[in-house]
């Protein structure tokens, strides 16, 4: 601090060595940056969830960095890598889970890939169409933590965790059902199909359904399920039937159920109880067929138009159906004949004594029932007959009816199925009648008749020749007589002309004169009233003039009213011009 300025006389200020600030306040900036940076790093580290590995057989649509893992439609993780396993048989999907989902990752947690499903019954499926496939997560019940999982190939019941119960339906075919197909109860969507498969024996299909909680209790031991699949169009002996449950089920199929109100013994059922699945509502709700009685019918005629499932009617009421149509060898006749097997439901035919409830036919003793049928057949003439249900479709059905004139027959209960006596069908009857008619016609001696006819004609010919020889001259004579008669008539008329006509002339002359005088009288009258100077006419003219004037006034009033309709109410006001 040397003072080399020129002002030496100015006292020097005291020089206080400044305390050097060792640490500048600027250091706050890097410290702040460090604190923020470390804070973010720590937060990042803490919020980082566990990494998991899921093995899939195929990872369709799974992309690293894009595919998310969702639970209850919320993203809880993200796929970070998709790799082949070491033995190249599987796909290993590594994923980073959210910190919050850490507790969910237990050993039996399930993962599966949700693919777009075009069944219309699931909105989630529509979501994947836009967002792509994602991996769905469902927590398990285990308490053990897990980080390696095996992904499911087919989605598990999408309903785990929801209150409700599962049931199993047995059906011959799957129909148009699929996973997610709705289950209806009184047209409410109350559940869905969660899986299906072939039964072990391969003879039926089982369909697992899930019913949501409040509705599962409507399933009792008597509940009937049927396929409400889409669109059921059937042409049967009973005509054209179209049946559908709802528009949705029309597209994706569905199942409906109902518990018949009348059925007794509505017991609660356990989970996974098995029910039969009927093909339609009518079948499902028809009373349970407990004792079916089978019969064989042997017909002579053609069975064209008869199909398995055709109804068996009794007086127009369905009492059973055709279960089979076969050819059978008749040993006695050394020929083939047709055998139709039918099943009838005796409780519909037979009302046990003292009991009026037809739906509880299961307690009827078989002997009583059979005795009743035997009496009907033997005494009353109950027979089976093939009838045409519709002339257009040509469908046939089996009718049971009384034919008192039918030859005597009995049911042989020893054979299985017992043969039920038949009578020829209506068509058959018609044909038989025709045939006998033709046979009779055949016997008619046409040739002889022709010969006779020829003989008759020649005889006629001879008669005519004779007629010509004998009758014509007679006729000539008659004609001449007629001529004479006409001539005399002519003369009579000429006389009338000469004597009566002049008289008439005179009469006409007088008439003409009378008319002329009448004319004169009339013209006089004319002059009095209508002549140009007639007083009547003058008065008439005046009257007409008066009327014309009045009419003019009325027209004026009408015009005025038309222009000023309010004058009717307010009266005439001074017009402004």
């Amino acid at each position: 601090m040397t003072d080399d300025s020129g002002f030496t006389d100015v006292p020097q200020t005291e020089s206080v060595p400044k305390k050097r600030a060792r640490l500048s306040i600027v250091w706050i900036i890097p410290i702040l940056a460090a604190v923020v940076g470390i804070g973010i790093a720590v937060q990042q580290h803490l919020s980082e969830g566990p990494a998991i590995r899921i093995a899939f057989r195929s990872a369709e649509g799974v992309e690293a960095g894009k595919t998310s893992i969702k639970y209850k439609e919320i993203e809880i993780g993200k796929v970070t890598g998709v790799n082949l396993s070491k033995d190249y048989s599987r796909i290993l999907v590594t994923a980073k889970m959210e910190k919050s989902a850490e507790g969910l990752l237990v050993k039996d947690a399930r993962f599966w890939i949700v693919k777009p499903r075009v069944t219309l019954s699931g909105v989630s499926g529509i979501g994947t169409l836009l967002s792509g496939n994602y991996i769905r997560f469902e927590p398990g019940k285990s308490r053990e933590e897990g980080h390696d999982f095996v992904g499911l190939e087919i989605p598990p019941p999408a309903t785990s965790g929801l209150p409700g119960r599962e049931f199993v339906l047995r059906s011959d075919t799957l129909g148009s059902l699929g996973i997610g197909s709705p289950v209806y109860y009184r047209r409410l969507n109350v559940g869905q199909v969660i899986s299906y498969g072939l039964a072990e024996d391969g003879k039926s299909v089982y369909i697992r359904i899930f019913l949501n909680a409040p509705f599962d209790r409507f399933v009792t031991s008597n509940t009937q399920f049927w396929e409400a699949s889409g669109f059921d169009l059937s042409v049967g002996a009973s005509g054209l039937t179209v049946q559908t449950e709802s528009l949705l089920s029309l597209l994706v199929g569905g199942i409906a159920f109902e518990t018949p109100a009348s059925s007794a013994g509505n017991n609660a059922v356990a989970d996974n109880a098995v029910f039969p699945l009927s093909s339609d509502r009518a079948t499902a709700l028809s009373p349970r067929e407990v004792d079916a009685e089978r019969y064989a019918l042997y017909f002579r005629g053609s069975l064209r138009g008869l199909s398995v499932g055709a109804p068996v009617d009794f007086l127009g009421l369905p009492v059973g159906e055709v279960t089979g149509i076969f050819l059978a060898y008749a040993p006695g006749e050394r020929s083939l004949r047709t055998r139709v097997e039918i099943v009838t439901y005796p409780h519909r035919l037979f009302v046990p004594r003292g009991k009026r409830d037809a739906t509880t036919g299961r307690s009827t003793p078989i002997t009583e029932r059979r005795g009743f049928m035997q009496r009907q057949v033997a005494e009353m003439g109950l027979r089976a007959q093939l009838r045409s249900a519709s002339l257009i479709s040509g469908q046939l059905f089996v009718a049971l009816d009384y034919f008192p004139d039918a030859p005597e027959a009995k049911i042989d209960w020893k054979r299985t199925p017992p043969a039920f006596p038949v009578v020829p069908g209506e068509m058959e009857n018609l044909l038989a009648n025709l045939r006998s008619l033709l046979g009779k016609l055949d016997k008619v001696p046409v040739e002889e008749i022709g010969n006779d006819a020829r003989k008759a004609i020649s005889a006629l010919d001879r008669t005519l020749v004779r007629l010509e020889g004998e009758t014509l001259p007679e006729a000539k004579k008659s004609l001449e007589t007629l001529d004479r008669t006409l001539q005399s008539a002519n003369r009579t008329l000429e006389r009338v002309d000469g004597e009566i006509v002049p008289e008439a002339k005179k009469t006409l002359e007088e008439l003409r004169r009378a008319i002329a005088s009448a004319e004169r009288v009339m013209s006089n009258t004319d002059n009095t009233f209508l002549g140009p100077d007639a007083p009547g006419r003058q008065e008439l003219r005046d009257a007409l003039r008066e009327i014309a004037r009045a009419a003019r006034a009325v027209r004026g009033l009408a015009d005025y009213l038309e222009r000023n309709p309010n004058a009717l109410i307010r009266g005439k006001t001074r017009e402004k011009f």
Binding site: S24, W27, L32, A33, A34, G132
Partner: protein, 212 residues
Amino acid sequence: MTRVPLTGAAAKIVLCKVCGLLSRPSGPSMPGRCPRCGDPAVLRQRDPIQRTWALVIAAAICYLPANVLPVMTTQTLRSVVPTTIIGGVVRLYADGSWVLALIVLVASVMIPLVKLVALAYLLITVQLRSDRYGRERVRLHRMLKVIGRWSMLDVFVATFSVALVQLRPYMTVVPGSGVLFFTAVVILTIFAADTFDPRLIWDPGKTRGEDD
């Protein structure tokens, strides 16, 4: 450098940085204000090295998250894609526009890094009182001040994207926290380059003690 050049401190004359008026400070420890424009007269910034160091270190700290954290996050219906600066460069390069990739790489990654390294080099050499390459170091400092603001390009792009791409719900771009750190890096390096006093470079050539 045999002859010591006259400095303002030695001549007891201070130059106002705003209006350019030369004036005598009222005292060495209390320079006072410029008599014309009232700006505080400053002979030398206090603790220039320490201040610069602080800013450089802060920038270096921020440089790490700026490159690790996403600068922006693109949300589409399908996905949420966070993009870091390097990720953006890689994507641009993969898409074929390598010129853009190069520009972004240079402007956003290289320049801040170069600035940090260069400032550190200048500070270290000053602290070592090195008197070699004085002229080159001054040129380097001048260059740092010029290129500094170009790094704001990336921030600019991010801001624009965020403001323009708001096609809810189909696509949106939200800023990531990386862009904050990146901005901090750029601003801190600009300040650091500003705070660094190039006169320190040639200070070793004269007697020390004037920069109090």
